[in-house]
């Protein structure tokens, strides 16, 4: 690295520079709707993702009523819903089992594929990654736009599926065959316009979108890193996104294959997933047979497990950035963090059968998958340990992003740790498909990932808008959410241990085992506090929504680097102009040079050259060498 290249440290004149860049004005449509600018696309993804999250949440709030008060009419909105979702969704406000199953399946699908992936991967990836690596844009801007529009189409198809005869997909987000293979079939069965088929078609679009995105991300990170930004100088967030992109790239296609096959089963009367000799409702199915129900599960979980790491890795990345920034010191064990993420990415391809323990798997194979599943938990342990240790010796400040991060760590911890009993097939024998599993992964995705995403929104909002979201309302958003999340999901562990199963339309009301008392309430009664907590958390989101939209126009104006961070995105003007940087950035140092000894500023940005004095000091103190 040549320290001679002088860089004028950014300042007021950036804003002027920023204006200079807005000479060539594009029309509104090209600029904000059909834009190919990575920042605009990122924001488009972000807004859609948030809206879908909220939608997925709303479906769940309806389900929670049915679980707490089975068979009773949903007050107020209940009598209007039939007009939206069709007469046999909730006749006079009472939810039917079909509709409950639709809601469950779509809650899962929407939350994962239309909410978290677009927000965590596509939105933050698109907006932040090019800025953090000092690139003017993604390598393939047009492909990038195509990716977004494929996603939009997929999303619309998924939504439309609610309104076709028979309602949306009912087979769970896992769409196990034969159930979803034969679902909706019967008199008046339309090949395409039915829930399950639309689910499959919509998915093909979502997969296309993810593949295009993944190709773009990886190429960008490989090809467009700024001068001097070596691999070991990449912000942890970029690493997380890099691995995530690979997971999507290589894990999605087999599911795409499976989806094509299920679509063939439904439309072209093939039997990829149907064995011979099935009797449905007392009458034999007229099919060629010769298929295998388990084939679907293998192909689905080959994506399914990498997918769950797609849900968590970006959150890890965000947490890392914010943690370093607010403890004012480098991430502890940067190398081991990077290494762990790579190992997770690699192993996540060979653990999938831990979702299939009870499908009649012999001892050899299950031994193999138990081993890999436990192995993959180790890098997670390393990552969390590194995060905790990073805090030691810091000077911790609690702004809103940091609050979410502080909550993320233990919440993910609970979720992750409860994965361990599930990893032993003999223990999972008891826990499989109970609310214990539901609680396990919700602790990771809801108070885990979602909190991480909130943190990210609050943290990068100033970069996108030049304004900051209100700290006060941020806290009003944070505390109730934290409390409610735990009131929702902790009792689910109890319900699970009682033996209460998931996907129970009646919330376990009809079962003796859920009549057992635990901690003062019966398993079934626990549904009530859970549901109320869920609804209260719904209210707790209102301050966020208002804060979010209000701050875009009226939030407190801030400079380009309000958090006094070190990574390259903060050297660009806020909001960054088309082309991002005023002067091509050059990186001279590692990503987290906080509190370098012998400096008055407690943060040193990556593009600040190393002066001779400092270099000699570094030589003396290897601990500082990055």
């Amino acid at each position: 690295m040549d320290a001679s290249t002088s860089l004028e440290t950014h300042g007021e004149h950036h804003h002027e520079a920023g204006h200079e860049h807005e000479h060539h004005e594009l029309g509104f449509w090209r600029k904000y709707i059909f834009s190919t600018d990575h920042k605009v696309i990122g924001i488009q993804y972000g807004l859609c993702g948030l809206v879908f999250l909220f939608l997925g949440f709303s479906l769940m709030m309806m389900m929670r009523w049915q679980l707490a008060y089975p068979g009773t009419a949903l007050p107020i909105i209940g009598k209007w819903l039939p007009y939206i979702f069709g007469a046999n969704s909730m006749p006079d406000g009472k939810m039917t089992p079909e509709f409950y199953n639709s809601l469950g399946a779509m809650h899962g699908t929407i939350m994962i594929f239309l909410g978290v992936v677009p927000l965590a991967f596509a939105a933050f990836g698109n907006f932040v990654v090019p800025l953090q690596i000092g690139a003017p844009d993604m390598t393939f801007p047009k492909v990038n736009a195509a990716s977004f529009w494929a996603f939009a189409v997929g999303g619309v198809i998924m939504l439309v599926s609610f309104f076709v005869p028979g309602g949306a997909a009912k087979g769970g987000w896992t769409s196990y065959t034969p159930l979803s293979d034969i679902s909706d079939k019967g008199p008046g069965f339309h090949l395409v316009m039915n829930g399950q088929s639309l689910w499959l078609i919509g998915f093909i679009f979502l997969i296309t979108s993810s593949l295009l995105g993944a190709v773009n991300f990886i190429t960008t990170i490989i090809q467009l890193r700024a001068k001097g930004l070596t691999w070991m100088r990449l912000p942890f967030f970029v690493w997380a996104q890099f691995v995530t992109a690979f997971l999507l790239l290589l894990a999605f296609p087999p599911l795409e294959a499976a989806i094509i096959m299920q679509l063939m089963d439904r439309t072209a009367a093939t039997s990829f997933f149907l064995p011979a000799g099935m009797i449905v409702n007392g009458a034999p199915l007229h099919i060629s047979g010769g298929g295998s129900p388990l084939l679907w599960q293998h192909l689905f979980w080959f994506l399914g497990h990498p997918e769950v790491y797609v849900l968590i890795l970006p959150a890890f990345g965000i947490v890392g950035e914010i943690l370093a920034n607010n403890s004012r010191k480098p991430l502890w064990g940067y190398k081991s963090l990077v290494f762990s993420v790579l190992v997770i990415g690699f192993l996540s391809f060979i653990v999938w059968a831990h979702h299939m323990w009870l499908t009649g798997m012999g001892s050899t194979v299950s031994a193999f998958f138990q081993t890999t599943t436990l192995l993959i938990s180790i890098p997670s342990v390393i990552i969390l340990s590194a995060f905790f240790i990073s805090l030691w010796g810091g000077s911790i400040r609690f702004n809103v992003p940091m609050l979410w991060v502080t909550a993320f760590l233990p919440m993910f911890g609970i979720g992750g740790l409860t994965g361990i009993p599930l990893a032993f097939n003999s223990a999972d024998l008891y826990l499989h498909d109970t609310y214990y599993v539901i609680a396990h992964f919700h602790y990771i995705v809801a108070p885990g990932t979602i909190f991480g995403l909130f943190a990210g929104v609050y943290y990068w909002f100033p970069k996108a808008t030049g304004r900051q979201m209100s700290e006060f309302w941020g806290k009003v958003h944070f505390w109730p959410s934290l409390i409610c999340m735990n009131v929702i999901f902790l009792p689910m562990f109890l319900q699970g241990m009682l033996g209460m199963h998931r996907r129970w339309y009646d919330g376990g009301q009809g079962w003796t085992l859920s009549g057992e008392h635990i901690w003062g309430l019966t398993g079934f009664q626990w549904n009530t506090p859970i549901s109320w907590a869920a609804w209260i958390m719904g209210l707790a989101q209102i301050p966020f929504i208002i804060n979010f939209f209000w701050s875009i126009k009226h939030g407190k104006k801030v400079n380009d680097n309000p958090w006094e961070a070190t990574t390259l995105e903060w050297t660009a003007p806020s909001p960054p102009p088309h082309g991002n940087f005023v002067t091509t950035p050059v990186a001279y140092r590692g990503p987290y040079e906080y509190s370098l000894p012998g400096r008055e500023k407690d943060f040193t940005m990556q593009n600040e050259p190393v002066d001779p004095a400092e270099r000699s000091r570094r030589m003396a103190e290897p601990a500082l060498v990055h």
């Binding site: 196990y176 909706d184 449905v280 911890g413 003999s426």
Partner: protein
Amino acid sequence: MNSLALINEFLGQPPNASEHGFQIDHIIEFAHWFMAALFIGWSAFFIFVLIRFHKSRHPKADHAGVKSGISTHLEFSCVLIEAVLLIGFAIPLWAKRVNEFPPTGDAVLVHVVGQQFNWTFHMPGPDGQFGHRNIDLVTNSNPLGIDPNDPAGKDDLVVLGELHVPVNRPVIIELSSKDVIHNFDLPHMRIAADAIPGSLIPMWFKPIKTGTYDVVCGQLCGLGHYGMKGTLVVDSPADYQAWLKERAELAGPQNAPPAANQQAPGAPKAENPAAKPEQKAAQPAASPSGQ
């Protein structure tokens, strides 16, 4: 045996009623102790750090941070514990469950067939021979399509929804399904396995407590999934014989159980008529309205 399982009871796990069950409880138990240790340890550290290094108390962060490799030891011990749980308990236990089935002689043999939305139990009767089943013969009165002119099938018992087994004798179950994937789950027996159309999955357990237990369907199988209940009654040997006798008489010459037992315990409550098996059976073949 189960006394060790403190956490499990604390978390509400119902008492175990099968011979091997306590081993499964032990693994869950150990796992939870391990998790608790990690969680409490780290939480303590976490909270301490958050207070100790709050910027009001520690205005100037130090760049280097922790130098000792303590975390490495910690992670290594995690690996160790998990390895012990895995190699010491989990793998052998599973191997025993699936590789060492008890000899057929002294065991009770049952074929369990799942369908939307109830369980059908097929027992070989005195001769210990299962009658040949043929799907072309399936009717409402002959739900399994047992071949009437197969001598082995003459004395077979076919029971819907409620299975009786004698206490302290191993039960070997062979699982299959007529339509979609179900999961035959006996929480109190700490045993479960999928019932998959087109395949036959064996499982076994040995009940050690008499009583009446839930049989859960642990796999989403359609709109009646939540109501797909079965009952497992563990009888004293005497009661069991009595029950067999009674069933045999009910069954009479031909093995079809009387309509009385037809109404499936799995049928969901009245608020959703569509799910009643009687009605569903009436519908045309190609319409699995169960979906």
